[in-house]
Symmetry: C2
């Protein structure tokens, strides 16, 4: 009888609307080799997969050939873990009007098991495998970028729900009724409409319009203000900019208080561009959580910033999807 | 080597502030024997356990002796599954100001494994084992009684969180800020403050006070109106009473839309006295859910009433806790 051969690597693919970044990753999260192709130059998914596999061959050879590869994980917009498909992804040329069986297409070409999930779930799995959530069985990863995404881990497993799409905490309703801000999802009052980078920019415009308080932000074209502009102004001591983050963090903390009543996580872990604002946002998050959470949960959850932040975080997250296969 | 003996029964204990009801249950949910003692006549938990075991001996003999008993499950207020303890339960004479290791106390006396959890979690486990959720891996059980409780099942497992207390959906905030009704938990605006039996009665009083609309409910002492009075009036065609359930169901449906964004359950299952109002409450729940839920979840979740309703439901739920041991 042959001994089973340990396959030490997984492939991670961070599939974005513009670029597709591949990495070959070991179990400690070290990226051994990396490559990339443009996502948007391929009109047909078959051509996209062929180009991907061609790019992958070179780095697979670098690490010792396909025999060293256990599996492949993909983090992709609108990725469904249960079916291995990408479903109606608005930002993908070859994926916006149908269901693409991307996992099985890669699996056929490469001869290894392939799984995919959405970006926020991949981030949560990456955190659990290599990052701030190592050893945790119950935590919630919240991604703060252009939108607000989430990956929920309960009893050591990612929560996919009955259809593969659970964990859309960006679309919990925070402001009910007519006062709620319109959200990209077509509804109103969602967490994402307030606590995403876009939401912060909108809060800035509203505060500038509704008051005549002085602010460094008044020097900028109000239509072009970004969350980064707000955090730069806040760091310079601008009170209005600080208040914008106070408002944003407060709402996020109130939302976390509700999430605690649901799954009582050991930690909330924040990921993505907006976490660069640091205590500007984290301090009001924690204060609002403590002020609003049910008494039995008070002081139990940690509030952490992802330890995966940086350019390789998304590839690591994607690769983590592969380890369980 | 002896063959392992199949033990066909579990003991279920529905531990309430007034009564403690015991049942011996088989795997199909048939209650083979039952007994009860008063909970509140015992000032010391040791005496309570001794009296319980004495009452149990008689029914254990009826089913063939302790060798037929696999384990015992307890559904109790403030029960913590992880530790087997009851923690600061306000309605228990011997349990209101400390942590009582009830599972281990019963286990020592009976010589079988014992687990406990809170009432709403027991209801969810009962539903999964014998009731409307058989075969489901993802559902949310919502108990509508004096309070609003919940038991959440994800990937076929009950959600206990990091501390054993997850699943407090009655304390999700539905009305933020000063407009929120005071809740028994000391906070304001909780789902429970609106959608419990107590909440329905309060809605009735508010609607009677704030308008001069005619209603059968005006014949009653406004301070003593119950949710049952409201449903009786509604069944007689009283429009104000119907509007009270419309308001209640609408809020519950909006809450379920948020819960779907969290765990995308296959079904919401409602349990407890208020479900007797039937379509009066279920219809607005479904309508509000459809109107408010994120598009990808629309039409996916079933809305069911527990098939365990009735006098034995709580004992069945408690017994279900024992099967996994």
């Amino acid at each position: 009888m042959e001994e089973p051969v340990m396959k030490p690597y997984v492939i991670g693919l961070d599939l974005g609307g513009t670029n597709s970044v591949f990495g070959i990753v070991d179990s400690r999260g070290d990226i051994k080799a990396t490559t990339a192709i443009k996502t948007q130059v391929y009109e047909k998914v078959e051509d996209y997969v062929e180009a991907s596999v061609e790019a992958l061959q070179a780095i697979i050879e670098q690490v010792g050939g396909i025999g060293t590869i256990k599996s492949m994980g993909i983090g992709a917009p609108n990725g469904n873990f249960y079916t291995g498909t990408i479903e109606f992804a608005p930002n993908l040329v070859w994926g916006h009007d149908g269901i693409v069986p991307l996992a099985s297409m890669f699996s056929e070409k490469l001869g290894v098991p392939v799984a995919l999930t959405n970006d926020a779930n991949a981030a949560a799995l990456g955190e659990m495998t290599y990052g701030a959530a190592r050893g945790m069985k119950n935590f919630i990863e919240i991604t703060l970028g252009t939108g607000v995404g989430s990956g929920i881990v309960i009893n050591g497993q990612l929560v996919y729900g009955c259809d593969g799409f659970a964990g859309e905490l960006g679309h919990i309703t925070m402001v009910r009724g007519e006062q709620g801000r319109p959200c990209g999802c077509g509804r109103t009052g969602c967490l994402e409409a307030y606590c995403s980078a876009t939401g912060v920019a909108r809060t800035a415009r509203e505060m500038l319009e509704k008051t005549d308080r002085p602010s460094l932000l008044r020097d900028l074209d109000s239509e072009k203000i970004t969350s980064l502009d707000v955090s730069i102004a806040a760091e310079k001591g601008d009170q209005l900019a600080k208040d914008i983050y106070e408002f944003t963090g407060h709402m996020l903390g109130e939302a976390c208080a509700d999430f605690a009543a649901f799954s009582s996580p050991e930690a909330f872990i924040f990921f993505g561009g907006m976490t660069k604002a640091g205590d500007l946002i984290m301090k009001p998050v924690k204060e609002a959580f403590d002020a609003h959470v049910l008494k039995i949960f008070k002081g139990k959850a940690k509030f952490l910033i992802s330890s995966l932040d940086g350019s390789s975080a998304a590839v690591l997250g994607a690769s983590a999807v592969g380890w369980d296969l």
